[in-house]
């Protein structure tokens, strides 16, 4: 716990000496992130586990829809050295699949199920990963993908309250508010040369 800066250096040396790391980010004295290739993930994780990073704190994914990629993130922790390590790797969005880390970290079982449920990433090697965990009778694309719009889904399926109260007082005049809002939206359209 003392001499924390050397801990991150230790990790950096440990990983970078053996594997090709695409990017290393030292976030602070307790955290370090590596971007690695998909093939290296498992060996790096087992290396880390044998070096004391025995706890899988978190596993999830990020949807980089513009790059058409998913980024899977593994966060492991070592209680003696007090460094959280993020291992990040990118997967192709269309056929996202990465082998389960169940043999290395048994605790990943439900995280992987959840990641599959919410992103649609496949985890071969995890026996139940295709079972629904949180959702029930889900009938749309995995909800944490960026192209899923929960509002649309909500509007489609669940009605909203429409209040019957009448607070508006217009005195039969032309609504200035509407005019204002129209101008606002018109102006917004101008941005892209909406005049055409």
């Amino acid at each position: 716990m003392t001499n924390s800066m050397s801990n991150t250096e230790f990790v950096t040396n440990l990983v970078e000496n053996q594997y090709k790391v695409l990017k290393t980010e030292v976030l602070d004295q307790y955290q370090i992130a590596f971007e690695v290739k998909k093939e290296d993930v498992h060996s790096i994780l087992s290396l880390l586990k044998t070096s004391g990073w025995i706890q899988l704190s978190y596993l999830s994914a990020v949807d980089w829809i513009k790059d058409n990629e998913f980024e899977v993130v593994y966060i492991v922790f070592n209680w003696d050295k007090a460094v959280h390590i993020q291992i990040r790797t990118r997967l192709d969005r269309e056929s996202a699949s990465i082998n389960s880390v169940l043999p290395i970290y048994p605790g990943c079982k439900y995280y992987e199920r959840e990641a599959h449920e919410f992103f649609g990433i496949k985890f071969p090697g995890n026996p139940d990963y295709e079972k629904q965990l949180i959702l029930e009778n889900w009938d749309d694309i995995p909800p944490l993908r960026k192209d899923f719009d929960p509002r649309q889904y909500s509007d489609k399926k669940f009605s909203h309250m429409e209040y019957k109260n009448d607070f508006v007082n217009k005195d039969g005049k032309v609504s200035k508010q509407e005019a204002r809002e129209k101008r606002f939206s018109d102006a917004d359209k101008l941005r892209t040369g909406g005049k055409k």
């Binding site: 976030l27 966060i75 439900y110 995280y111 949180i134 959702l135 929960p150 509002r151």
Partner: protein, 368 residues
Amino acid sequence: MKEMKLFLGPQHPGMSGNASVHMYVDGDIIKRSYLLPGMLHRGFEKGMERHLWVNNISLIPRVCVVEPDTNEMAFAMAVEMIAKLEVPERAHYIRMIILEFARLSIHLMSYGGLGGPTGLYTLMYHAHTDRNTILNIFEKITGHRVYHQYIVPGGVRKDLPVGIEKDMHSFLDDLESRYEEYRDLGINNLSIQARIRDTIMLPKEVVWELGVTGIGMRSAVNKPYDLRKVKPYARYDQIEFDVPVSDYSDAYARVDCKLQEVLQSISIIRQCLIKMPKGDVRVPISKGQAMRWTVPKGYAYACVESSRGEFGYFMVSDGGTHPYRVGVRGASYPQGLLGVEKYLPGTRLDDASLWIDTMGVCSPEIDR
């Protein structure tokens, strides 16, 4: 006898929270079991992506209902980590006070909750009455009894109100003076000991395998693995406190650690009140009005020690006005899902709700 299917929850007095434990029992012995989460799924991680940075402070406390402050703290820390914000010194101390009060409140609640599965309702009544006092103190500080929305990225929302120290001290003194009474009613009581001794074990070897943290881990491995010590956040490095540990991981050890932590929390709050400097309590995330606050690009994983273990927020920002991705590591995720599946079988039917209670399984943070 044939195996029988039984539910524990979602609507069940022994279930703390809206989740369901499905069990196959043979007589009274649980043969197989698993947790059915998702009853409280609200799409938080999606919702956070769709809210502004500032709006998120109204969303995050709701991730875990009983302990909103750790959520706020972890979120705030993650944002501060990406945006490289320097939080004012006073805010650090106020945050610690709030966090420790939250710890007190949830420990009282879960200790009182011990009264539910064991039928010792008097304990529940007493503990909740004291918790109510904490809630009132919270209300005075933050404006709401439960959803405080007080710890925000960059500090806290308001300074402590005048004269609140008196309320705090009187409550802490009162609680400390009745600490032995509490022990006598609860875990020193033989009828309770019969329920929690030597049962619902979580052996040392499997703690790592599951990823269980917090009291569940410390009561097994006998080492002070507390994030407040291991990687101090706020100003925990300037406060003296002990981390209660144990090497025998039965339910008794967990409850015992919890109660000892109550004393530690009391002492931490007292130290904070003494050490707290004067000054500002908040810096904005960035310039401009709140709806146009931006956070630079970056990744961060920030975690705090909640009453159930490591509570973490994984955050990705793309430099915009909204978070790009926020992931929540619920502190009770491992013991709630994998723990119930792997280590509840073999115990008795009666122990299921005690497992849920002493492990502190909080279903909203599992479902999110």
